[in-house]
């Protein structure tokens, strides 16, 4: 064997052992792949849940942060086992094409319409719809994520009710800016441009408290700004047979357990003085007549259920 061949062999062995070392170092514990909407990730909630879950259940969560649309696509292609999203419209499509199921509503908060202190459009004290109408009339700058995320889906629905049924028509308006990026980046653009935007409260509070933005909240309550987070498992059929379905169900059971729910409800309280995400399981289970429970049923239930029977994938225990 000549020396050149020897060099090549050594390179291959070194390369293979490097790969083996790095793969093995990361694979000492079972892993579960999770795709999530950016708000749950950027606020740090999912990193915290991942630590908690690893410590108590010995499973490491691989968290991939995307907008709701792409997060669902990842579960649909079987590249992740579980997905966290917040867009009932897109979730319904996901269920009906059998990409996944075992849906559980785990938390809620509210979206907020925010903008510069000076309030050039004068939307203070207006309803959501009136505020958007005012922004369009006065041609005050509006910054949109335009990334098919849950927040963006909500935004599209709101613009539709204001008289822009075709969201792409807004591209032609000179007061409209589309970032195509996540919530954080979009908040920063809105801040720089002194424009208005719609945001989830979790990401907003984090950016606001860290002094990264100084935009003010103008509208942040009401049924049309309700933001409902749910979790679903990829359906282990068709091209998805190698997803970890049992691992996904175990994780969902943890999230809806008292432990999981109080962990979600306590997240951010120390830092922001109020929870960023409100637990939803108990609220819905009690069949409470509260206004918010009714709103959740009105906006995020399908066929009067958080997950109609045919999409439960045999996991009835999640719904008792």
């Amino acid at each position: 064997m000549n020396k050149l061949a020897l060099i090549l062999v050594v390179l291959v062995i070194a390369g293979v052992s490097a790969v083996a070392a790095i793969e093995l170092s990361g694979r000492t514990v079972p892993r579960l792949k999770v795709s999530t909407t950016t708000s749950l990730f950027d606020t740090g909630l999912l990193d915290n849940i991942a630590d908690e879950y690893l410590n108590n259940y010995g499973v490491r969560l691989d968290v991939i942060s995307l907008g709701t649309g792409p997060a669902l696509d990842q579960a649909g292609s079987g590249d992740v086992d579980v997905t966290f999203v917040h867009s009932p419209t897109l979730e319904n499509l996901f269920l009906t094409d059998n990409s996944g199921g075992a849906r559980k509503i785990i938390a809620y908060n509210f979206f907020a319409i925010i903008g510069p202190d000076e309030d050039p459009a004068g939307i203070e004290n207006l309803s959501t719809i009136a505020a958007l109408q005012k922004i369009a009339e006065t041609k005050a700058e509006w910054v949109s994520r335009d990334d098919n995320s849950g927040t963006n889906t909500k935004e599209k629905a709101l613009w539709k009710s204001v008289g822009f049924p075709d969201f792409t028509a807004l591209y032609e308006e000179n007061w409209f800016t589309a970032t195509g990026q996540g919530m954080g980046a979009t908040l920063v653009v809105a801040n720089e441009h002194r424009g208005y935007t719609i945001t989830d409260t979790g990401t907003y509070l984090k950016y606001f408290n860290d002094n990264l933005i100084n935009l003010k909240t103008f509208v942040s309550s009401g049924k049309d700004l309700l933001n409902v987070y749910s979790v679903m498992a990829a359906n282990p059929v068709d091209n998805r047979e190698n997803v970890d379905f049992q691992g996904a169900i175990d994780f969902i059971e943890y999230l809806i357990s008292d432990n999981g729910q109080s962990f979600i409800g306590n997240f951010g309280v120390a830092e922001y003085g109020a929870p960023l995400f409100n637990p939803a399981v108990q609220l819905l289970k009690e069949n409470a007549d509260s206004e918010i429970a009714t709103w959740i049923r009105d906006t995020a239930f399908f066929e009067n259920s958080e997950c109609p029977q045919q999409y439960r994938l045999g996991q009835e225990q999640l719904y008792q």
Partner: protein
């Protein structure tokens, strides 16, 4: 520097280093072939490699995601979102720059060296080795340039690695991620470390070039 930061820095070096090693296993033979032989179409092949030096990382990233995804042709290997996927991607990414720089380093070696080695009874392989050893400066420069390209790229690592904490998170993906989640301080710290690595390697390369 926090422990987590060090872990990410080491992982980046590890992954891009492995990518460079793998890449060399095919780039060395290709470059020796291109640098030492004369055949029709040789210049065309070299220009193709040169043209691919600027291959956009996001384009390579999306191609690999389509291949590695569970729904893709190589989905059954389960490579998506693993360090291995990043290594494969970066190894492919640096191939054109390695081949291009190695080939010109080999070309610039005086042909008489090879002939001399052969007259002294060297086998073909030994003669090639003599050429490589004569071109060692250029070879090291090529390696450094390729490593810098790999460790500084974002598109491939982000798309096929997804920046999973403690697994596929490397410096560039964490810089992007921490920026997105509003942790700018950490983002800047990492960027400084990355720049320090790239600059010191470039400096080393310049020193080599001078003497």
């Amino acid at each position: 520097m926090s422990e987590q930061l060090i872990e990410v820095v080491l992982r980046s070096i590890w992954i891009s280093g492995a990518a460079l090693l793998f890449s060399l296993t095919w780039c060395l033979p290709i470059s020796l072939f291109l640098g030492l032989r004369n055949f029709r179409g040789r210049n065309i092949i070299i220009s193709i490699f040169n043209a691919f030096i600027g291959f956009p990382t996001v384009a390579l990233g999306i191609i690999l995601v389509a291949l590695f995804s569970n729904a893709g042709a190589l989905g059954s290997l389960g490579l998506l979102y693993t360090p291995t996927a990043i290594i494969i991607g970066q190894a492919l990414l640096v191939t054109p720059i390695l081949v291009s720089l190695l080939t010109s380093a080999i070309e610039s070696v005086d042909p008489s060296i090879r002939d001399l080695a052969k007259t002294l009874g060297a086998s073909d392989g030994q003669a090639k080795l003599a050429v490589l050893s004569e071109a060692r400066k250029g070879t090291i420069l090529a390696g450094i340039a390729a490593f810098n390209r790999a460790i500084g790229e974002l598109g491939v690592a982000l798309m096929v690695g997804a920046s999973l904490r403690g697994y596929t998170r490397v410096m560039t993906t964490q810089i992007a991620l921490e920026y997105n989640r509003g942790e700018w301080e950490l983002s800047v710290q990492l960027a400084i470390v990355l720049l320090a690595i790239v600059f010191s390697l470039t400096l080393l390369a310049n020193m080599l070039r001078r003497d």
